[in-house]
């Protein structure tokens, strides 16, 4: 059976992708941020994932306002990186796992999540920057298959934190019912607090971010009491990307341990953060 071995949450700020392309990891501005990835990379290496299920949001590459799905699941053999209009390098395509995708789609719809399925999908920095960060030695040959799951954080009404938590639970159940022996790591990308638009642009809320980082590990259901407007107020207009983290955490059905976390202000206009969680099956094997 497929097994979720853990989860990685990470910011997906486009500037990170540029810094990687320009090899700026040791610049004084970037070092405190990139140093936070060493422990995450070490964990990922021993976790040996076959598949990354990537919970992220599109920012106007694959989806436009003409058709804006609340939840969309990729079901393609590969996912294209494309020009986003402002100079982020285009990466090699990412291999999909269409069989796992359709298993997820079947189970999510049966579980009353009426998602949109996408057989043709370009993935933007919300997906590509975390892949680039977590597989720095891939050289364009990605060592895992991927399943993108996109949550609408662009156009209100957004799904509530409670709904994203439940989606995550359903994703977790779907993955764990997949008959193939696969090691799966769930990524949740974006955040933490930031706001790009309006006269409150530049808003960052360290206190709230630290609350979220603590709470998502030990008492994640407390986060489901927040409304989306609470998230806008406390995390900023774009800090609502924390919804992706909540869904990611929801997918961990076992006993969860924090392996690593890093938090650094600022990266571009954002509080940059990384969180690595290990997931152990709640029911221990009785084999003597």
């Amino acid at each position: 059976m497929a097994q979720i071995v853990g989860a990685i949450a990470t910011s997906h700020i486009p500037a990170i992708g540029k810094a990687i392309a320009e090899k700026k990891q040791n610049d004084p501005y970037w070092k405190p941020f990139f140093d936070g990835y060493d422990a995450a990379l070490a964990w990922l290496k021993q976790a040996k994932p076959d598949v990354v299920v990537m919970i992220y949001n599109d920012h106007g590459l694959n989806f436009f306002l003409d058709k804006m799905p609340t939840f969309a699941v990729g079901a393609a053999a590969q996912y294209r990186s494309e020009d986003e209009g402002w100079g982020l390098p285009v990466l090699n395509s990412f291999p999909g796992d269409a069989a796992l995708s359709w298993h997820l789609i079947e189970h999510l719809v049966a579980d009353e999540f009426d998602i949109v399925s996408c057989q043709d999908m370009a993935v933007d920095h919300g997906f590509t920057v975390p892949m680039n960060l977590m597989f720095p030695d891939a050289g364009g040959k990605w060592p895992v298959k991927t399943v993108p799951i996109s949550i609408n954080t662009v156009q209100h009404p957004l799904p509530t934190p409670a709904r994203c938590w439940k989606l995550g639970r359903a994703i977790g159940r779907a993955i764990e019912s997949y008959p193939k022996d696969l090691r799966v790591v769930v990524f949740g990308t974006g955040g933490l607090s930031h706001q790009l638009d309006g006269t409150r642009a530049g808003f960052i809320n360290k206190k709230f971010d630290l609350y979220c980082l603590d709470t998502i590990v030990r008492d994640p259901e407390a986060l489901t009491k927040l409304s989306t407007i609470d998230l806008v107020r406390e995390a900023g207009a774009q800090g609502v990307e924390f919804l992706n983290w909540i869904a990611m955490r929801g997918a961990l059905l076992g006993n969860v341990t924090q392996i690593h976390r890093n938090y650094h202000i600022p990266i571009s206009n954002t509080a940059g953060a990384t969180l690595v969680l290990e997931n152990r099956a709640a029911v221990q094997s009785q084999a003597a």
Binding site: E84, G85, V154, P157, L196, G198, G202, F203, R233, A271
Partner: protein, 113 residues
Amino acid sequence: MQHHDIPGTIVYDGEQAQKGYALNAMCYSFNVAANRDEFKHDEDAYCTKYGLNDEQRAAIRERNVLKLLAAGGNVYYLAKFAGILNLNVQDIGAQQTGMSVEAFKEKLAAAGR
């Protein structure tokens, strides 16, 4: 629709999305390099092609982010217009808050202390 009390913050809802559809459609087209070139070649003709209204055209002409937002622009699509102008998110943050770019960067750094 005023259904929140968060100063200086837009909740990008259906009202905004309807108002800004043409403007955002134009900015969405800037994902493609040939479209960016076509816009740069004749901005006015490109705005006509996408059916921008007078308010949206003026905001594009003035490169004014707050006016683009007021005209229904969504920041994720507007970012592609900012890309054409070689403006990053600190540049547009400074413009919207009336600060210098250096002061805006300092404000971001101060949030970590």
